[in-house]
Symmetry: C2
Subunit: 828 residues, 2 copies
């Protein structure tokens, strides 16, 4: 019996980015809500001419490998980042951070700082607007209580950065130090430090309820094969090359411009509009080139507000740029997790019961209120009886957040090591185990939006009931596993654990599988474009380009759809005063969400071009081309007659004949009751030095189902980057905290060890495989790719290490210490 | 018998900005072409829902006085101009100008400059691309032949401006000096210096043929009253507060960004695309605040190319900024003119025959190939028998161009002093003379675009013949004259010439009338907008805002049309990567051209909002408001039911219910075979000191027909500025040239005397009158105002001086020398 979901509730859900993300991750837990939202969205889907949408197939552009547009500029130093922005009279800000992990400010004296010549303003919690930035605990632009070591306490704006830093040293603060905790389980124990105050406890419930399917308890009890285990992951820093920064500039009392390295200019604009009680149109956010985001730059966070508040106070532009140590401490981090699994399988290895309980370390402030390590877990395998629960807990580790995915790399690590254990217990090869258990049900009918109106059973635009067409619109997991296995030589190389030791070197091979909703479609999806009288196309695309090739992809989709040569197109982006909105560049959503919008805008423009080419023109009432608009098509910069392509006219001439540029606008909505998922597999081959415990990565193969690669080179680059990032998660990176003082003991490049090229396999042994099953929902069949490749490496490597030495390491990172301890256990 | 105009020719005419300007100035000379172009445009007019367009009447926003948006920032120094742009690694350029008015470069040695540490590149004619920038004579980025003193010969880019200037001093040039001429009549005489080379002569024919009507010769011979006279105007400099400047920046080999103080970003983009053989979409032109244009900044001219070429050579950003003297010499100027008139009238004072022959000093290079001082002359008066001819001539005075109008202030000065003479000869009061002779025929049927399709006689979209509906869609000249006369007290104060002398002070009063096509509609006309989920509106408007309030006006039209509060709206402009196109901010065209496009984009958006508000939404198929979209309207941030405005919903909620921002696009075309004209009158009262010759301006009243003032405060500010500029033209400004060396002897503030506030009447005696007859063509009835107020002051003042002392001064400016000479003649 489906729940009643009112329109009001649908609109609330639509406005909630978490809902779209989470519900699409766990569709069976949110079926009623999804049905209601999707029915709503289908009802409001714009009516693009159906034949145009149906005919939108890749020809010469989509599928071509195109170098990312910004790369030459980034590599030569020509690229302008927000931290490069210099404005006349600009002030520079320095930030004072708390030395304590948890404290209240008893007194703060800024008079000496204010008296320093060149200092223009000092802000503390006493003189900034008390605007909530979320929580729990309540977070403000600056607060009287600090919840992590390094938390911002005061900010100085001065004529130059040196004066600002000198002034910081002149501020005296009396802290009352409070009890603190950085271990998530300790934070949940009774008697733990009271981080919210008022005895509310540190436990944070998930935003969405625990999820259940079938009857886990009885299925587990009946299972002939059972396994359980506990897995932990560490705190990691994004370590973006460009630290947090912003330049704020007021023009008059109600017009704010902020240059910011951000992943979502429209989101930052909305945040700042709220902070300053302005209409969003009065806030302009400009993101030139962005030096990496990975999830930390989704919000303007505090630094954007510091710049804007100080600029308002001083009536001068203000630049805030975090130092590397400050960025390590105050930027969001990938949260640590603890996951307990229990599962049962039948004798063939088929999973019959599956239970997972996760604790996420939400840190000092949860940037993302859901502790969602679990969201990835329910998706990959076909399980009839399941029980999943997740909790978050406050600690004093600094604010948690996204890091190249929400919680999937943590969850997939835990699940895929666990599944390896279950496969072994069932006596099944790890590859065969995955192939047997993965969910592959696909319903990829050729339905395009126009056809899908029939889903309403002919009862009118919004009538009738919607039939769910789950599970997936496309599923390439089997192909990912098979092609990856073939590439790495799985059947030749896999062996029993610890069965390939030569001297002091142990060889191992491991794999992992992954599925997530990242890379799927979320609202809003809007785009614009314009074509000039010379036939060149500005694709005014909604993504904030953070260096991942987003703009290149949008340019390709735009050129393909309108029918101009790629060389004639160029993307425009990064200025909220002009750009449409496709949500933030996170969730791997831009190729499909922004891409769908660009496709719609392109069709809107193309239709106008076809109409103009077929329009009778004075004085002879002769059109440029014979026939109706429907009889024409575009390509290669021409409009031509479909039945006789030799009859053609330049698009440039058609545009010029209107007397000006032509423009297209596109708003896309979810066109069907779809279930979209991205899939990935990873294969790692390692050599473990039994004397030193060093793990050498011999080869790695990543395979990703991306639906259709709009830009194969771009997809490969995203996969390379995502996989490389995870090598650090697997084998070394960790942001550790001093157990007494609770401050981070790793806060700069010299003590936070990210992998270098020397830690990678040789180029020939580091391979990516693009799997392209196509997809009925995405633009030209595409799905996203930014995050999904991040999840498989850590479990694949962990499983390879197990395969080498026969002892499980269930806690990331796999350091030499842990390996040596495991080897000692092996030798026992 | 109308001429046959082919579609091909129509498209050529459409692409020719001069045609639209000139043909609309002299419609009776171009009737066939206008008919063909207008028929074409009407055929392609987009079909906005007719009821919406018809209902677009001003309510609470259009007609409100709104301070210009940029003013607080400009007044406090917060405004960012292109010359404020600082980019990392930016180089600074200095320019070497020729010391000779006409010469060829025999040799140029830049080796010492190149060897100076810090110098990164030196360009001369030898190493820049040989791209034509127009002519005649042929103009290149840098040429081997120079045609005016100060013409650019070499440009150096260095690490700082001081090094660049030092390097300039190290360049040695051997010139072969050639004969030169700065007097336009001397340039036309036989034996004049050969400025084009090859003996082609210096005479430039007008782009469009001389114009004739009726039979001038016989009418003149028959006239009982005849007058003839010769009038001259001087060379003037725009003297924009911001001199010419540009910062160019390449990202990779095929992406150029230029920050420029310009009046037309899309035009500069097209120019630079041509120069560098790039698609326009690969050139981005950004104009932040612009420090005045007045016609000089219509093109990127040379300085933009210097910056781009040097940036390409050095692979670093390059800033070019002209010094004030360089700007005086190399920027375009208002050209000097010589006009000969003959006219006849009947005994009542009605003009029966009218002949004018004009020579314009086109200078070294004609920025505008038509020498069009005449275009204003044919418009104001009803004349059955006329003969107008105009010539241009090359001289060595530097490049000529627009200056707050094309040639109207020159032509109107000549005509309105001449008409004063004709009136006197006929024995008619100057006011009565104008009222008797001005053309006032109006055909202002209520036709709006949708209705006007009927103009094709029902023969389909492009069928039938077009009936001309000339002359004007609206005409406020009589009201301008009458209200202005009343304000200054014409009937009480006017007296016979030299009839109000007390002691050494002579009182005088004068008036003038004016009509021009500036402020009317030209292609292209395109605009976009977007409204965010909070209901705030970004009006992505096509004008390049040069400080005249263009963006404020567009914001008002956008907010009015969509129905949001003005405070929720904000204009976006000035970045060619995003903005639509409404041609340059010159020709006073933006209020009507861009305004019409913004209106269309607003209607496109409003229609979507109404449709969404009326759309049945799942699950109950209940719409937000009852009825069809046609039954709804917007206003004050709400959508409401027309029949019951208490039934309403916030626009913000409607937008949010689509899941994202909503966007509108608007392309406007000329909606009817219209004749549009703006009108103005000026009244000046002076006191002439008979001892010193000093003319004191006691009062000035300007009256302008603007159709409908979208922003009355903005209109008043435009009128104030335009009138003030002309006080300098009337009473003192002149760019003189050394008669031997032919170089300008006035090239900086200290020797080019612009009027200050001390030269103005007291505030209470400096009045502007806005005349609002409405107009069936313009958005909300508006016409333009930027230039038309510039023309009346000089002749009104000249006529007042005559009224004071009884001796005509026919040559501008009216300096003390000339006044003293006239007084001496008076006393004879």
């Amino acid at each position: 019996m489906p729940k009643k979901i009112s329109t009001k509730r649908v609109l609330e859900l639509l406005a909630d980015p978490e809902f779209q993300l989470i519900a699409s991750e766990s569709p069976w837990a949110f079926q009623d809500e999804l049905d209601a939202v999707n029915a709503y969205l289908i009802a409001i889907t714009p009516k693009t001419p159906a034949h145009l949408r149906a005919a939108a197939k890749p020809t010469s552009i989509v599928g071509r490998s195109v170098p990312r547009l910004g790369d030459p500029a980034r590599l030569t130093g020509q690229a302008i980042f927000s931290s490069d922005v210099q404005l006349p009279g600009m002030l520079y800000a320095a930030v004072l951070g708390s030395p304590h992990a948890h404290a209240t400010i008893e007194s703060i004296d800024t008079s000496a700082a204010e008296a320093l010549p060149g200092v223009r303003a000092v802000i503390t919690y006493k003189n900034v607007p008390k605007v909530s930035l979320g929580g729990p605990p309540p977070q403000y632009i600056l607060g009287q209580e600090v919840h992590f070591a390094g938390e911002e306490v005061a900010v100085v704006a001065a004529d130059d950065i040196h004066t600002a830093r000198d002034a910081i040293a002149l501020i005296t603060v009396q802290y009352k130090v409070l009890p603190s905790v950085t271990d998530p389980e300790a934070a949940l124990a009774s008697g733990a430090p009271d981080l919210q105050g008022g005895g509310k406890g540190n436990k944070l419930a998930a935003s969405y309820p625990l999820t259940k399917r079938g009857s886990y308890d009885s299925a587990y009890a009946a299972a002939p094969v059972t396994v359980e285990g506990r897995y932990t992951t560490q705190t990691l820093q994004h370590a973006t090359l460009e630290p947090r920064n912003a330049v704020a500039h007021w023009e008059g009392p109600d017009q704010l411009t902020v240059y910011a390295g951000t992943q979502y200019i429209m989101g930052v604009r909305a945040e700042l509009a709220t902070t300053f009680k302005l209409p969003r149109s009065h806030v302009r956010v400009i993101a030139p080139h962005v030096g990496g985001g990975f999830g930390d730059k989704s919000s303007s966070a505090r630094h954007g507000r510091f710049a804007a508040v100080l600029a308002q106070m001083t009536q001068r532009p203000v630049k805030v740029e975090y130092t590397r140590p400050a960025n390590f401490k105050a930027a969001t981090h990938r949260y640590a997790t603890v996951v307990d699994f229990k599962a049962g399988a039948d004798r063939s290895g088929k999973i019959s019961a599956y239970r997972a309980e996760a604790i996420s370390d939400s840190g000092a402030y949860s940037a993302f209120s859901l502790t969602d390590v679990m969201v990835s877990i329910a998706r990959l395998y076909h399980v009839d009886n399941a029980y999943f629960q997740q909790l978050g807990t406050l600690t004093n580790r600094g604010p948690s957040g996204f890091q190249r995915c929400v919680g999937n790399p943590q969850g997939t690590f835990a699940q895929e090591v666990f599944m390896d254990e279950l496969a072994e217990k069932a006596g099944v090869d790890p590859l065969a185990f995955r192939l047997m258990n993965v969910e592959t049900k696909v319903n990829q009918d050729a339905a395009m939006p126009a056809d899908l109106e029939n889903a309403f059973g002919g009862a009118g635009e919004a009538g009738g009931a919607v039939q769910r067409k789950l599970p997936w619109a496309s599923c390439g997991i089997v192909e990912c596993l098979q092609k990856g296995a073939q590439s790495i030589g799985w059947t030749q190389k896999w062996h029993k654990p610890a069965a390939a030791i030569k001297g002091n070197k142990a060889h191992g091979i491991g794999l992992s599988a992954h599925a997530c909703a990242h890379g799927s479609m979320t609202m809003p999806m809007t785009a614009m474009m314009k074509i000039d009288q010379d036939g060149s196309l500005d694709v005014i695309q909604p993504t904030t380009d953070i260096g991942g090739g987003q703009s290149t992809t949008m340019m390709m989709i735009g050129a393909e759809t309108v029918g101009v040569d790629l060389e004639e197109a160029h993307p425009s982006w990064g200025d909220s005063a002009f750009t449409p909105d496709s949500s933030g560049t996170n969730g791997s959503r831009q190729t499909i969400s922004a891409g769908s919008a660009v496709l719609e805008a392109g069709l809107d423009l193309k239709w106008q071009i076809l109409q103009q080419a077929a329009r009778p023109l004075p004085p002879k009432n002769a059109p440029m081309l014979p026939g109706k608009p429907e009889d024409l098509d575009t390509g290669g910069g021409f409009v031509f007659v479909k039945a006789d392509p030799s009859k053609k006219v330049r698009i440039a001439d058609v545009v010029a004949s209107t007397g000006g540029p032509m423009m297209g606008r596109g708003a896309h909505t979810i066109p069907r009751n779809y279930g979209m998922s991205t899939f990935a597999a990873g294969f790692a081959e390692v050599e473990v030095d039994l004397d030193t415990g060093e793990v050498t990565l011999l080869s790695y193969v990543g395979a990703n189902d991306v639906g259709k690669a709009v830009n194969p080179l771009g997809v490969e680059q995203q996969m390379d980057g995502a996989i490389s990032m995870s090598f650090g998660m697997a084998l070394g990176e960790e942001m550790k905290f001093d157990p007494q003082q609770k401050f981070p003991v790793m806060w700069n490049w010299e003590n936070y060890a990210m992998p270098t090229t020397l830690d990678h396999p040789k180029i020939a042994d580091f391979r990516t495989i693009i799997v392209e099953p196509g997809d009925a929902v995405g633009p030209y069949g595409a799905k996203g790719v930014g995050e999904p490749p991040t999840s498989p490496p850590a479990p694949a490597i962990a499983n390879a290490v197990y395969n080498a030495i026969g002892v499980r390491i269930r806690d990331l990172p796999i350091t030499r210490d842990k390996v040596l301890a495991a080897i000692a256990q092996m030798k026992k």
